[in-house]
Structure formats: structure tokens, C-alpha cells
Amino acid sequence: MRQAWVIGINIFRQLLRNRILTVLAIFALGMGGLSVFLGELGQESEARLGRDFGLLGVEWIGYITVLLCHVVLLFEETELKTITMLLVKPVARWQYLLGKLVGSSLLAALNVAGLVAVLLLVGWWRGYSLASLPFFLAVFFLLWQSVVMSAVVLLFSVLASTVPACVVYSTFTFFLGHFTGNLVEWMAKLDGGAALVLVKVLYYLLPNLAVFNLGDSLPLGGENIKTGIALSASSFLWPLAYGAIYALAVMLLASWQYQRKEI
């Protein structure tokens, strides 16, 4: 575990200095500005729009951060061959992958924290507050979703070995992962056969990302969203446990594949 942490911190530092990631800072500012603009145009309360756009931004910035992290690292590994010197050190390959997960997740956390700070400043400027436990919990679970997606992108980076393939497979999974609930409805409508088997396979393979979206379940509405939590502890434990188990399964698969890979 110590080796994975050392690798994770090094990857975090390395990515932090990469100029590609300044794009994300611009994205964060853009999301803040957009929520103000739409708040002024829209019928709904500005606080609700600020919250909804903020959480959407948190979800996207988390995913784009982990995707870019793994794309940059995959490019360095395949084109610059930086990996050979690392893998002859006393480091197991699974420790290296875990380090990548740690580094990318830390950077996602930093970017999300930056966006949340922008959202809170915008709220303060516009006269409403997003600073509430429910809001922070919703942010936390979206960040947890980014960790799960980081494991998924990592698996595709190991399987695909090329940057475009990794981006396409990962983004496809990210989009489909929001609709696994619809797959349950499809299964109910299907009588059987190959289509049902295919839908079932997809249902169990794809991450159910809707689990991490607590924004709709939490009592965040109203002008002032400093209301308490109405949900039970199990409502929080389930996405935590589901995310951990799914990420672990994906990491095991990625490690198994990476162990066999020729460098």
C-alpha cells in the first residue's frame, strides 16, 4: 500500500503541473458563470438553478479530470515509455495501477473542491447559500462516482492501449451508466431470448451511476437550502458500498490484465 501511495502522490504532482488541466479550471469558472446567467433568465429560483448546475458541473468535472489523467498517463507510458524504469523497481503492477487511481482521484477531488468554491462564491455574490450538509453530501457522492469512473477508465486504458479507444469506451460507459435504471424497465418488457440476455449482461456489467446522484433525493429545494437530511443512513451506505465493490472488481480485472501485458 505504501508503494501505491508514493506512486499516487507522484502522479498527482505530475498531473497538477500539466497544462492540459488548466482547461478544467476554465470549465469550473464557465459553469459558475452559466448558473448565474441561466438563473437570471429562468423561471425557477436562482438558488435551485445554481445548485442543479453546480452538481452537474461537479459530475462532469470529476469525469473529465479522471479521463484526462489516464489519457495523459497512457500517452506517457506508450509513447515516451516512462513506465519501464518504474516497473523494474520493487513495485507490483497492481500497486502501480492503484497509484494511478489514487493520483487521479486526488486531482478530481482538488478540481471538484475548486468548482465548489466557485459555486459558493457565486451564491454569496447573488445572495443565496449552497453551503449545507445535504449539498456537500451530494458533492461527495459525485466525487465517489468519479473514483469509480477512474477505475473504469483505468481498465479501458489497460485493455485498449490506445488513447482514442480508451476515451471512446470510457465515455460510452459513462453515458450508458446513467441509464442502467432504464435497462430494468426493458428487462420487464422483454419475454426472453437473446435480447433479454444482452440487456441483463449490460445491466450487470455497466456501473449504475444513478446510485451516486443524491441531488434529487436530498431536501435541497427552496431559496435557502440549509435544511436537514431526511434520508436514512442506509441511503448513504448503499452508494458507498456499491461504489467500493464495483471499483474493486474493476481494479482486480485491470490488475489481472496488466500483469499479463508485455511492456
Binding site: 508514493v6 505530475q14 515516451l80 524504469m85 523494474v88 523497481k89 520493487p90 508485455e262 511492456i263
Partner: protein, 314 residues
């Protein structure tokens, strides 16, 4: 009991797969290679590009798994953590994360080797000074030249003071000063009793630096011998070119057990240095038709050329 060899490679075979699912292409990179390197020895592996030298080094360092055979480092599997802690590795044309400085990169590798904080920091500064990067140690690596990156690679290979060092083409890409520094490094490591295994296609440097050499060609080990033995068995030669060579002159060369060959109307013949005066005396050339020296080969070059020709002749 300590193992007899620092490196032991036993009948290693390696095949690469490329192409796609419908058109798989398999190429045999290593064909039953065996070698042993004793502790404290400097071993040079030579061969033309594509001979399998880098593949063999990757197998020896545990980066590649052989299809058949075994590779041991100090009697341990090359991919074991215990073995990896005991060797350093410099790949051909090393590259590093470009936004980190040399100090940060070395500090990271030192942490992975489990070096404690204080000695690690001191050793990083010492190694960067030793490879001549003391003034550039906090610059981002993207501002480094290829030669400077090669030096950082060397520093990381030696950072944890390993007993064995693998160097893949350490001289290629270096300027004359860099080559001189690399020679000094070899001598210093050798005086410290380190085992050095390196790949190169620059035969003169291998001959100058190594105790023993291995000659590889098309995935096979053609020859392994101490450099001193090769020097005694294979004389230095010069290759002479003649614009014209009559039947009598060719007979004179054959009588001296030399084999002239003709290509594009030019006759060439490889002559041992010791026989050179005899050849010029026996082959009576008309005035103004002196031969041209087109190359001079060291004993290792001669041995290499002979071994490759014999292999290709079947």
C-alpha cells in the same frame, strides 16, 4: 550460500505477437538463449539492431516473461521484489515525466526503493552532481537535452547503490564527452566490484570496457568469450580494396589463405595486420596501383563478422 552467478539465463525463448485477430503475425525474438554472468564481471552483449538484445535485457529485468526458459538474478526470479531491489536498469533512450525536475524524479525512485528520507535526499544530490547535473537539478525535465535525460536515467539506475546494473545502449546518443564520462563510470563501478551487463552495437567500446562478450544474431547467442580470448584468437584486420587484381595476384592471396572477393569491379580482401607487409610484398602491383584501406577491424569486429557469416551460411 550465495549463488554462483549474478545473472543466469537458461534456454530462454520469446515470441512476439503482432498484427490483428484475423492476421496474427508471430516473430521469434529469442531462440533458446543461455548465458551466465559472474558477480563483479563486466559483460557486453553485442549484435546488430533487431538481434534480440533489448528483448533479452527485458527478460533479464523481469519486464517480459519468457515463453520458455528461466532468467535468474542472484539466484532469484528476475521479477521478484527481492531481485529488483538488488539491480538498477537504464533503458535505451530513457524519458521521464516532463513536468517534474530531476531531483523530484530521483526522489520518487528513491522512495520506491525504500530509502529513508535523509540519506535519500543526500544521495539524490550526490548522484545528480556525479552525473554533472548539479546546476540543473531543479529545472523541469522538458528543458533537458537527450544527453541530459540519459544522465538522469543513469543516476536513477545507480541511486540505490545496486550490486548489478543493466544498461541498454548506454553510449548511443552521447557526445564524445558523455562517452568519456560513461567509460569513467564503468571503471569506477568495476573498481567497486559491481556487476555490469550492457548492450551495445558499438563494438570498439565493448571491446575496451568488457571482461566478457556475447555475440547475438537473429535471436541466437552465437558466441560468448572473454575479450582477452577473442583478441588472441581473432587478429585485428584491415580490408584492402584493389581496382584490379589479376589471376596471378589472386593466386598469391589464396596461397596466403586469404579470400579476395569482387563486387562492382572492385576486389576486396580482409588481411590480418600481421600479414599486411607480406601481402603487399607478394601481390606485386603495377606502379601507382596501390590498394586502398577501406576499413580496419578490431578482433571483436572480426569475430563478430565471422560468426554472423557462419550463421548465415547455415
Amino acid at each position: 550460500m550465495s549463488p554462483a552467478f549474478a545473472i543466469e539465463v537458461i534456454e530462454v525463448q520469446k515470441r512476439y505477437k503482432s498484427g490483428d485477430f484475423w492476421h496474427p503475425i508471430k516473430s521469434q525474438a529469442l531462440r533458446g538463449v543461455s548465458l551466465q554472468v559472474r558477480a563483479g564481471e563486466v559483460y557486453g552483449l553485442v549484435g546488430v539492431n533487431g538481434a534480440g538484445k533489448t528483448t533479452l535485457m527485458k527478460v533479464m529485468t523481469g519486464l517480459l516473461r519468457p515463453d520458455q526458459g528461466r532468467s535468474l538474478v542472484f539466484g532469484l526470479s528476475a521479477s521478484s521484489m527481492e531481485a529488483r531491489a538488488r539491480f538498477g536498469y537504464l533503458p535505451e533512450l530513457p524519458s521521464f515525466p516532463k513536468y517534474l525536475s530531476a531531483r523530484e524524479v530521483l526522489d520518487f525512485y528513491g522512495r520506491l526503493q525504500g530509502m529513508p528520507d535523509k540519506p535519500r535526499r543526500a544521495r539524490v544530490a550526490e548522484m545528480l552532481g556525479w552525473v554533472g547535473l548539479a546546476e540543473a537539478l531543479d529545472k523541469p525535465i522538458r528543458e533537458y537535452s537527450k544527453g541530459m535525460q540519459q544522465r538522469v536515467g543513469l543516476a536513477q539506475a545507480l541511486l540505490h547503490d545496486p550490486e548489478l546494473v543493466f544498461l541498454d545502449e548506454p553510449i548511443s546518443g552521447l557526445d564524445p564527452l558523455g562517452i568519456k564520462q560513461m567509460r569513467d563510470l564503468f571503471l569506477r563501478l568495476k573498481s567497486q566490484g559491481k556487476t555490469i551487463f550492457f548492450n551495445s552495437h558499438i563494438l570498439s567500446e565493448v571491446e575496451r570496457l568488457c571482461d566478457r562478450v556475447g555475440l547475438m544474431h537473429r535471436g541466437r547467442m552465437l558466441l560468448q568469450a572473454p575479450v582477452a580470448d577473442l583478441a588472441s584468437r581473432h587478429a585485428s584486420t584491415v580490408t584492402l580494396a584493389f581496382r584490379s587484381l589479376g589471376p596471378a595476384q589472386r593466386r598469391a592471396l589464396k596461397a596466403l589463405r586469404l579470400a579476395p572477393s569482387q563486387e562492382n569491379r572492385v576486389w576486396t580482401v580482409a588481411v590480418p595486420n600481421a600479414q599486411l607487409a607480406q601481402v603487399l610484398a607478394k601481390v606485386k602491383l603495377p606502379h601507382g596501383a596501390a590498394p586502398t584501406v577501406i576499413s580496419a577491424n578490431s578482433p571483436l569486429e572480426t569475430a563478430f563478422i565471422e560468426a554472423v557469416r557462419a550463421e548465415e551460411a547455415g
